[in-house]
């Protein structure tokens, strides 16, 4: 069986979009293209309840088929990796559910099965989650209010790479920030299997004024297709190198 590649956009923001199209709508388009959109909203230390501006966070993830979570910056690291993994499981479970519906009829889903069968299916889902390839495009909001949160975001992303690289499947990450200079998004870090090297790049990020979340998601979507032809050819030449050891 050929293993698929899961594609995810991970949006890290602390506020509401204020320019361009509705981010929930662009997230829906991305989801249509097979890209899951996950959103992490960072709360300020003095925010206790869900603030108005962050309602959007849940909406974007809902229409993007992904997972959303609001966190204080202290627990960002663990959240980032849990959200990513949770979304992987969710996507894979979605695939499995579709297959089940084809076999068992449109009204059957995994939760209508008895716990024993569910357990067996979850084992398969877990196996897939461990071995599938994963591409994560991290989209970081660099509007002015994010300034003091960026060091934590950097830590969290390095941590994410530690977590995901413990998997058997291959990973690829890239980082974009928005708003960019004259563009909606700006490349910070090109597709790469690890994120250890980002320490040097992150401090250079400048904070801007506006938050064009919608356009940023739309642009981010295209970056999955943009990987150079050479690279995709090269990848096909080395099938499952990591697998060999297991």
């Amino acid at each position: 069986m050929k293993k698929g590649t899961l594609k995810q956009i991970l949006l890290i923001t602390d506020g509401c979009s204020n320019k361009g199209e509705d981010p929930a709508a662009t997230a829906a388009i991305a989801y249509q293209q097979g890209i899951t959109v996950n959103v992490i909203g960072i709360l300020d230390d003095d925010q206790t309840e869900e603030p108005e501006g962050l309602h959007e966070v849940e909406d974007i993830a809902l229409s993007g088929g992904g997972v959303s979570q609001l966190v204080y910056k202290q627990s960002l690291s663990q959240t980032v990796q849990m959200v990513t993994k949770q979304a992987m499981t969710q996507t894979l479970q979605g695939f499995v559910n579709q297959e089940l519906k084809q076999i068992l009829g449109p009204k059957q889903s995994m939760e209508d099965l008895d716990p024993e069968k569910r357990g067996e299916i979850m084992e398969v889902v877990e196996d897939m989650g461990e071995t599938c390839d994963l591409e994560v495009l991290v989209l970081v909001d660099t509007s002015a209010s994010m300034h003091d949160k960026l060091p934590t975001v950097k830590e969290a992303l390095i941590d994410l790479s530690i977590s995901l690289n413990a998997r058997i499947g291959r990973n690829r990450f890239c980082i974009y920030s928005f708003p960019g200079k004259r563009k909606d998004i700006q490349k910070v870090f090109d597709w790469s299997p690890k994120l250890d090297a980002i320490s040097t790049i992150f401090p250079k990020l400048t904070s801007g004024g506006i938050t064009p979340t919608g356009p940023a998601i739309r642009e981010a979507m295209y970056q999955f297709g943009k990987k150079s032809l050479l690279r995709s050819l090269r990848d096909e030449d080395e099938p499952n190198v990591e697998e060999a050891g297991y």
Partner: protein, 317 residues
């Protein structure tokens, strides 16, 4: 199925006296009280056919199913001492039509390691170390790694005192990515290794379990995490004699728990031996032992006691 479940901590409040009926297996459980809650779901003490069980319930059916899978595979490991035994897995639909998943397991009654040691003294440290390493070795032998090893997931059962694991939700197959972890116990967080499931991952967390006993508020990693860990290990008197072993575990130098267990047992044995030999040669070394002997007698006594308790705990199944 609900595709876009936003993932929030949602505690289910079940009132004592309430009862729930399983959708599939039709068992009826009477809730007695809440035992605790974790990242996924809450645990309640319940009664079914006159027996007490622990019931874990959550609206996250996926995670619950994964936990049950782990419990089931641990059951297949010979013996029953790795984690609580599983009694039932089922769904519960509330009168409002909300669906929850739950599983029911053996109710283990005990106290935390910290409170036990506070009452009974640090002589027990060595005993618990050996017990834990023995269980870890059996787990590793069967192809699993505990993952989320931490003080909250351990319980000391009484007569004879025996450490048991109560939450095996983070248990991961060897070679995969650790499923669940807690930063303080995670070697990835401390920059001391990967998050791949291997025996040395558990041994790192093992050391942190014992550090956590003496630093209940935990501590930060600071700019030089490795140094902080070494300093903390050397700071605790009760861990002093084990510190060479603990250091090695932190550095990931043990290939297996059995190896570490042997070295710890040896350390305990040696500590006891120096104690007896210092007694015999006490006269010739009078001047030197004057200052040293109380410490040696004390530690030696502690280890004799510890060894005795450990051995007796092995005798009683």
């Amino acid at each position: 199925m609900k595709m876009n479940q936003t993932w929030k901590k949602q505690d289910i409040e079940l009132k004592p006296g309430m009862s729930l009926n399983g959708k599939w297996h039709k068992f009826r459980y009477m809730i007695k009280r809440k035992l605790g809650s974790g990242a996924i779901g809450s645990v309640f003490l319940c009664e079914c056919n006159g027996k007490e069980y622990a019931l874990k319930i959550s609206d996250n059916s996926t995670s619950m199913t994964m936990e049950v899978n782990v419990l089931k595979s641990l059951q297949k490991v010979q013996g029953n001492r790795l984690g609580p035994s599983l009694f039932d897995v089922d769904d519960w639909v509330t009168p409002h039509g909300i669906k929850y998943s739950f599983y029911v397991m053996e109710y283990l009654k005990g106290e935390t390691m910290a409170s036990f040691i506070k009452r009974n003294g640090s002589a027990w440290i060595g005993v618990f170390m050996l017990q834990l390493l023995e269980d870890l070795e059996r787990l590793h032998q069967s192809g699993w790694v505990f993952g989320d090893l931490k003080a909250e997931n351990l319980l000391v059962l009484s007569s004879p005192p025996r450490v048991r694991w109560i939450d095996v939700g983070g248990t991961t197959q060897k070679g995969r990515a650790i499923k669940e972890y807690t930063e303080f116990y995670d070697r990835g967080y401390w920059g001391m290794g990967s998050r791949r499931a291997e025996p040395s991952y558990d041994l790192f967390a093992f050391v942190m379990v014992f550090l956590n006993l003496y630093f209940p508020k935990r501590f930060n990693k600071g700019p030089n995490a490795e140094k902080v860990l070494y300093a903390k290990i050397n700071e605790v008197k009760a861990l002093k004699i084990y510190s060479p072993c603990l250091m090695k575990a932190i550095q990931g130098k043990y290939q297996s728990s059995a190896q570490m267990k042997n070295e710890i047992a040896n350390t305990m044995y040696k500590a006891q031996k120096t104690h007896t030999s210092s007694k015999q040669t006490g006269r010739t070394q009078k001047v030197r032992t004057k200052t040293k002997s109380p410490v040696i007698v004390e530690t030696g006594g502690i280890f004799l006691l510890a060894l005795f308790y450990y051995l007796s705990s092995l005798l009683v199944p």
